[in-house]
Each structure stands twice: as C-alpha cells, then as structure tokens.
C-alpha cells in the first residue's frame, strides 16, 4: 500500500532551498543585499516627490504612511511574483526527484520576508526620527497583520504556481494584476480621500485592510477596526484552504505539465 514518501527532513530541505535562493539573488552583485532595500526606497523617493504636495495637507505623516504601505506592498508583489514561477523554475528537479514540492512554495515567501524585515528596520529608523506616536505598542498588532498578509500570499501562490505550469503567459497577466492592485489599494493616497461608498468597497480588498490597519497600529493610532480585520482573516483562511486543496490535487500531475 505504501507509496513513495519523502523520508528526509523537510526543515533541512526548506533551509537549503531558502539559502540557495538567497545566495543566487545576491552573489556577484557589488551592492548585494542593498539592492533589495534600495528598490522600495527608490520607488518611495519617486512617489514622495510626485505626490507629497497633493496629499500633504490631508495627512501630516504622509511620508511615513507611504513608506509603510510600499513596504507591505513590495512584500506582497515580490513574493507573489516569485510564487508564480516557483514550481516552473524547479521543473528540472521536479522531473527527476519526488520531493515535497509544497516546500518550494514556502521558500518563495521566506526570502521575500527576509527583505521585508530588513526594510522594516529602516522604516523603524524613520519612525524614531519622526516619532509620530509615543510608543510602539501597536507592534504586536502589526505583526498579526503581517501574518495575515503572509497567509494571503501563500494562498495565492498555491493557485498561481500551478496555473503557471499550464499557462505560460500567466506571469504577464499577474504583473498587470499587480499594477491594478497597487493603484486600487490606498498606498499612494490615503483611504480618506475616497468617497464613503468607495471606501467600503475598497475595504473588501484584504490588502487595503492590512495596510490601513498597519498605519493605525504604527503611525496614526486611529482605531483598531476588528470587523474589517476579522473579515480579512476569514477571507485569507478560506482562500488558504481552497488553495491548499487545489494545490494538493494538482501537484500529483504537475510533472506532466512541463
């Protein structure tokens, strides 16, 4: 009855795949890891230059809000983009060895999470410089939100990694969708500039919930909106379950798609 099972250590496999990804991305480049940090900050500088005169009056902490929004969005976009190609990039291994392929999906998130954390340290430096609040008591709440975001990314990667093995132009489609998500989420603009009904619509997007609530937790200390966060959590959990079931069903035959 027993089919072939991977008998090695999943944790070690995860570690080596993350390490390989990390080394591969940053070796040979002079600035190495700095590139990872530079990317969101250059984007930040550009957007600040362009938009800050527009929204400065409405939001005295516009710069910090923008930076936090961009950090969260970069984490989302980077790890979902990697997620799309995560199985396909390993096709040569998948065709030769039966290893727990779900670990390749976890790997994509781990590496983007490392760059996210590094970016967050820099955000904290800015935070201490500007000091929008007296304390960082919202930090645990913020990390709960990051956890929800990570779950959302994982759920999406379960779907997209499989879809990409069947439809090779899905990467371009996803890139366009990411742009759509970027502009429809209040990253560059504050949520408050939207008219009331549109605001409610925007809050159906869990990313909007996560970003606005993160801002509440770390910058404005507005209010913790448990209702929308509860919705985002439920949304993520349902998507995770669906994604996991989809992945588990499709992964058995994924070798035939290459």
């Amino acid at each position: 009855m027993s089919k072939y099972q991977f008998q090695g250590s999943r944790l070690d496999l995860f570690y080596e795949l993350v390490r390989t990804d990390f080394v591969m991305r940053y070796h040979n480049s002079v600035l190495g890891f700095i590139w990872v940090l530079l990317k969101p900050f250059l984007l930040f500088l550009i957007i600040v230059t362009v938009f800050s005169f527009l929204f400065k009056n409405q939001d005295p902490n516009y710069n910090l809000n923008l930076l936090l929004g961009l950090l969260l969005y970069s984490y989302f976009s980077e790890s979902t983009l990697r997620g799309v190609t995560s199985l396909f990039d390993r096709s040569s291994v998948i065709l030769k060895v039966n290893f727990p392929k779900i670990i390749a999906i976890y790997t994509t998130i781990a590496n983007s999470f490392i760059s996210f954390l590094a970016g967050f340290v820099i955000f904290l430096l800015f935070w201490f410089f500007i000091k929008p609040l007296n304390s960082l008591s919202g930090l645990p709440y913020f990390f709960v939100l990051v956890l929800i975001l990570s779950g959302l990314i994982l759920a999406l990667n379960f779907f997209t990694s499989i879809i990409y093995t069947k439809l090779r132009d899905f990467l371009s489609i996803w890139e366009v969708l990411l742009q759509l998500i970027f502009w429809s989420t209040p990253i560059v603009y504050p949520l408050s500039i939207l008219p009331e009904p549109l605001q409610r619509l925007a809050l159906l997007n869990p990313l909007t919930v996560i970003i606005t609530q993160s801002r509440s937790a770390l910058i404005s200390n507005d209010f913790y909106d448990w209702k929308t966060v509860g919705y985002a959590t439920l949304f993520t959990i349902i998507l995770l379950i669906m994604g996991y079931l989809f992945f588990r069903r499709e992964i058995k035959r994924v070798a035939e798609n290459f």
Binding site: D12, L17, K96, V97
Partner: protein, 241 residues
C-alpha cells in the same frame, strides 16, 4: 517478500495535437478546448522486485523505461493500478539533481543531499567521505560551473550513494566517468549488492545489465515483452533488434 510491487499499471500521456500552453494562443484559436492525442506509455505492467534483487530494464528508446522508473519514484501518478513500495527509496533517476552551477561544490553537496532526503547533520558527518570519493578536495569552494562534466557526475554519484536508502533507481548513470571512476563505481555496486540493497537499472549498456542484474525485463511500446534471466532476455532482445 516483494519490496516493489506493480499491479496492473497503466499510464497515458495526453499529447496536445496543437501545442497551446498560453492563454493568448487559446484566444487566438477561439477555443479553450485542446485537442489531445492519447499516448499509451505503459500498458498493464505487472512487476515484482524482491529484496536484494537487481532488476535491469532494457528496450529501445521511447519504450517506456524512464516512465516506468518515474512512476516507481512517484514523479508520475499511474492512471490505473497500484504501486507498492516497502522500503526507503533513493529517487535518483539522474545524477546531480538540483545541482546549481552558480553555487560552490560545498553548497551543492548540501543542496543535493537534502533533495535526496538526507538531513543536514548526516551530510556534515559524511562530508569528507563524499569529497574523498569524488576526489574534488582541492575544488571544494569553486563554483560547480567550472567543474568538468565528469567531475560533476563523480560528485553527484558520491552524494547519492551516501543516502541511506535500500532501493536505488538508476537511469543510465553507469556510462559516465573515467576508467578509474568506473572501477570505483564497480566496487560500490558490489558493496551495495552485498549489503542486500535493491536496485532497478535502466541501461543501454547490456554488458552491465548482465554483470549486475539478477533479472531483466524487455520493454517495448509500453509492454513487457519478456522477463527472466538477464542472459536469456538480452539474447532474445539482441536477436530481435
């Protein structure tokens, strides 16, 4: 006791008559339905390998040899039938799986090792043994892309034999390496046999099948034409070809 048992295994592949693997192409063709041709890669395969037995698989290109190994390794799912495996399988179909040419040999040993199911601790313990067997001590921190292909294969082989499995799947892995290395492999195979390990060998090198295997099967068009003593099967096969 059978360590590997295949029971009425069937495997079909869908081959698209027109390759459409992007959404754009499907739009252009105004159809989301693809036309497939069915390729029957394996038809009703029954097979038993006993513990300690070495099985050789021979047959022309495209006869289903590698598909059969991939089914046993769990890379493909059978459409029909049951596969039973009672042991720890080392799924190396080809050597050097997961090797990354941009990484150093040292990093590759760990990467390849964990993919084959070893723990990092075990790899560290057997690291020197691997390096000595492969004979690459001087080049440990060089990138793998600077290695000759023979050296890469030697390293891959050295890693694979360290994994503590008792079933090995070998797809054309013998026809590599220089004379000295072939001799080393020979010794390793002899040791493996003595330790009672089981192996399935796919090879076009008929001499090595005779040398190592206790049993052979001849596959053609996804069917077992003949199975039995390696000498008998190979004689029939060569006469047929």
């Amino acid at each position: 006791m059978a360590i590997i048992k295949l029971d009425h295994i069937n495997k079909n592949f869908k081959i698209p008559t027109e390759k459409q693997d992007s959404l754009r192409e499907r739009f252009i063709n105004f159809s989301f339905r693809q036309n497939y041709k069915r390729l029957q890669a394996l038809k009703d395969i029954n097979l038993e390998v006993k513990k300690g037995e070495w099985l050789g698989i021979i047959g022309p290109n495209g006869s289903g040899k590698s598909t059969l190994l991939k089914l046993i390794a769990g890379i493909y799912e059978p459409d029909k039938g049951q596969i039973e495996i009672n042991g720890h399988l080392v799924p190396f179909l080809e050597l050097g799986v997961g090797f990354n040419p941009e990484l150093s040999a040292r990093d590759n040993i760990f990467l390849n090792g964990v993919i084959l199911g070893m723990s990092r601790k075990k790899i560290s313990r057997q690291f020197d043994q691997i390096v000595n067997f492969a004979g690459i001590k001087l080049f440990l921190d060089q990138k793998l892309k600077n290695f000759s292909s023979g050296m890469q294969v030697r390293l891959a082989f050295a890693i694979a034999i360290q994994s503590a499995g008792d079933i090995f799947l070998l797809d054309e892995v013998l026809a590599v390496g220089d004379y000295q290395f072939q001799k080393k492999c020979n010794q390793v195979f002899k040791d493996m046999k003595q330790q009672g390990k089981t192996a399935i060998l796919v090879s076009h090198d008929l001499d090595s099948i005779i040398q190592y295997c206790d049993k052979a099967i001849w596959l053609d068009h996804g069917k077992i034409i003949l199975s039995g003593q390696p000498e008998t099967v190979i004689k029939a096969y060569t006469r047929f070809v």
